[in-house]
Symmetry: C2
Subunit: 421 residues, 2 copies
């Protein structure tokens, strides 16, 4: 079964808006056993829309369109869908019904002349918008079992309409896969890609390829290796165990830190919750990024108590009781300051573990001895209070990410080596 | 002049990795007067690559390819470029030179058998990679002045190679525009899109269209209206003044909060710096997001002192001196608690202004009286200490964004209404 996405909007092609619907759709479909065939991002241009719609409809079972359904004149999806597939715009009783319902839900008054939401191409069906006002569109060529669906470009509206209104049709399609696309994930840290496959473990790629399609994906701080295949539950478990045995006996076994999907902050929250450990941070250069990542995980409140984002030195002294002398003598970016920050955060928050970050994210503030990219990461637990200096490369945002990643890895290791509370 | 981007990788189509190179490229080109024609994201599949390369080369002056240049077997870009345009792989003296140089720069030893970086299709030129190891590729059809460039998929490598090695060629192309694509930006808050164009300001779209192409872009908390046109500096100023006069006399004049591109946190840092004001936050539900946003702006250290991410009630009491009685009596999510959090943050950080956030981002934690999406935003300045309750909709991450956005808007207004320090 082939599904493609077309995303429409000049703002997606001038650097203003990052197209995220494709990423979400791809993940949603993949979890349901389908690999999205492609994503095409095009301008608000009638000719381009027409040509792209036609081509995608020919090549795919399902074409999903996002964007261009709003009430303003730069929204051209409906008229072009009409031109290519559905005929001229006509008043649609069903559109009136579903749009009226949503205006009522939002306690707003519908002025039809403001948006023409009630006008729908003759052979097209309007789709209820569970999150917003503009209805979606559905055109079917029943003889060839081909579909085109149009949904709004605003991400939450797109997600809601796809999940609740569009996906059920896709699932009922005759080509929907019976077997599930499965994946075995092996996540490594500390060895470059070519070092893994050519120096340390020659032949590993070929060995893994016997189980399915292999992919090697560089992450911010390591390489994830994936093996994908269609299988039922039993076959999946067998293959997973074989792959795991191969990996555990290869030369990078020690560099594997996880066998599961999910980001680092999810592992931290899950594993700290399981061990009943509480966490605090003292953040300078990361500026709240680490706390923000942890609090994106729902359930974070089980383990996360506080982060002291002490950007100014005075704040480090007041909130974390760092000694002014330490900062004077060693500098704010130093092992000594990081140690005191971590100890201060742990004490103030009464947490089991605290991690601190003090470094230089740039572009300014670097020196010969401590260039941009230098970070001291400290930790404090019942047993130990120490810190380590690292050097990373990148621009301001990437460095913040790398600093944060290094601290969360330290935290995960402390959680793993800690005895259950 | 037509430029298109092709991004390659299964990981971009299974929800694992968000494709960001297109967004960056689009912004970079737009600043240089060019609208990127389209972005196509495709799988690591030889047939798909071949077909997509051919089609894009036909339709565009420049095709930029990102991804599939790495050392592992899922990297197929080079062989397909060879098959379609450049002939069989041969040892390239230039590739050996540029790759050796980078291995030296990184103090690593190059084992040719690990990656075949020295093998390049006959009619293709290798491109120096200023940020990484894998060389890029360049194929030219000189008679038709058509180019295809291949760069790595890792964003920082893509950005570096495009900016330093690929863009200079594009700029020297005969079709490079003489005039610059300009844009007038009008940013509004508090009025829905259709309300602006159909109820309050009918005819506004048409009036603005006389100056160029109009776009209306819904943001997290408002609508941005853009007018784009090619113009030299003088024409641009004239048009900008006329558009500004129209907007200032229309019915949504009071809803305009900015005439410039840039995100809210950039405005906050810029305007607070200009007025010599310092800032602190007390964040509960936003979990450090607000501090993270502010510290993504370089120069933030001029104005931002600290954020107290007090997720646990105990942390609110210890770090911000919120009275236990206040939390008991009114709850952690209340105007009263938000007021005390803001006052505590301002006092502890010795800042001019402090903003506090306490709310329910969900999915758990809501109640009938205080459903998920409720937030109290507090502020403290020399003159006032107060708070306001808001209700928003969305999932956890969106709610964190909306809470943070509402607080930063309050902050921006306080900065704007403050007298210079």
């Amino acid at each position: 079964m082939k599904i493609a996405l077309i995303a429409i909007g000049d703002e997606l092609l001038n650097g203003r808006t990052l197209e995220k619907n494709g990423h979400w759709l791809a993940g949603f479909l993949y979890e349901n056993g389908i690999l999205l065939n492609d994503i095409t991002i095009i301008r608000d241009d009638e000719e381009v829309l027409e040509e792209t719609f036609k081509k995608s409809f020919e090549c795919n079972d399902f074409t999903i369109v996002t964007g261009g359904l709003g009430p303003t004149l730069d929204d051209k999806t409906k008229s072009i869908i009409g031109k290519v597939f559905g005929g001229p715009l006509k008043e649609s009783a069903k559109a009136i019904e579903i749009v009226s319902k949503q205006y009522e839900n939002y306690s707003r008054q519908w002025h039809r002349e403001s948006n023409s939401y009630h006008m729908i191409p003759e052979k097209v069906e309007p789709i209820f918008n569970p999150i917003g006002l503009a209805p979606g569109l559905k055109f079917v060529d029943s003889s060839r079992e081909k579909y085109i669906f149009c949904a709004p470009g605003v991400p939450r509206e797109f997600f809601g309409m796809f999940e609740k209104e569009i996906y059920p049709f896709i699932k009922s399609h005759s080509n929907f896969p019976n077997e599930t696309l499965r994946q075995v994930t092996v996540r490594t840290r500390g060895v470059p890609e070519e070092e893994i496959f050519y120096r340390r473990c020659p032949g590993l790629w070929e060995k893994l390829s016997e189980f399915g399609q292999v992919a090697s994906l560089p992450q911010i701080m390591g390489i994830d290796i994936l093996v994908k295949f269609y299988a039922n539950e039993e076959e999946y478990k067998k293959k997973r165990d074989s792959i795991s045995a191969i990996m555990k006996s290869c030369a990078i076994a020690e560099n594997i830190w996880s066998w599961e999907e999910g980001n680092l902050e999810e592992f931290v929250v899950k594993e700290a919750t399981a061990k009943n450990l509480t966490i605090a941070f003292a953040e300078s250069c990361t500026g709240g990024l680490t706390a923000n990542r942890i609090t994106n995980v729902s359930g974070a409140s089980q383990v996360f108590l506080a982060s002291y984002v002490t950007y100014a030195n005075e704040a480090k002294i007041n909130a974390l009781k760092v000694l002014p002398k330490t900062i004077e003598e060693y500098g704010a970016v130093s092992i000594e300051t990081a140690k005191e920050m971590a100890a201060g955060a742990r004490k103030s928050a009464h947490s089991d573990i605290a991690i601190s970050f003090t470094g230089i994210a740039g572009p300014g503030g670097g020196s010969k001895e401590k260039p941009v990219g230098t970070v001291a990461i400290g930790w404090s637990t019942k047993e130990s209070n120490d810190a380590k200096l690292y050097h990373f490369k990148g621009d301001r945002e990437l460095l913040k990410q790398r600093f944060s990643e290094a601290g969360l890895f330290k935290l995960l290791n402390l959680i793993r080596s800690s005895e259950t509370n």
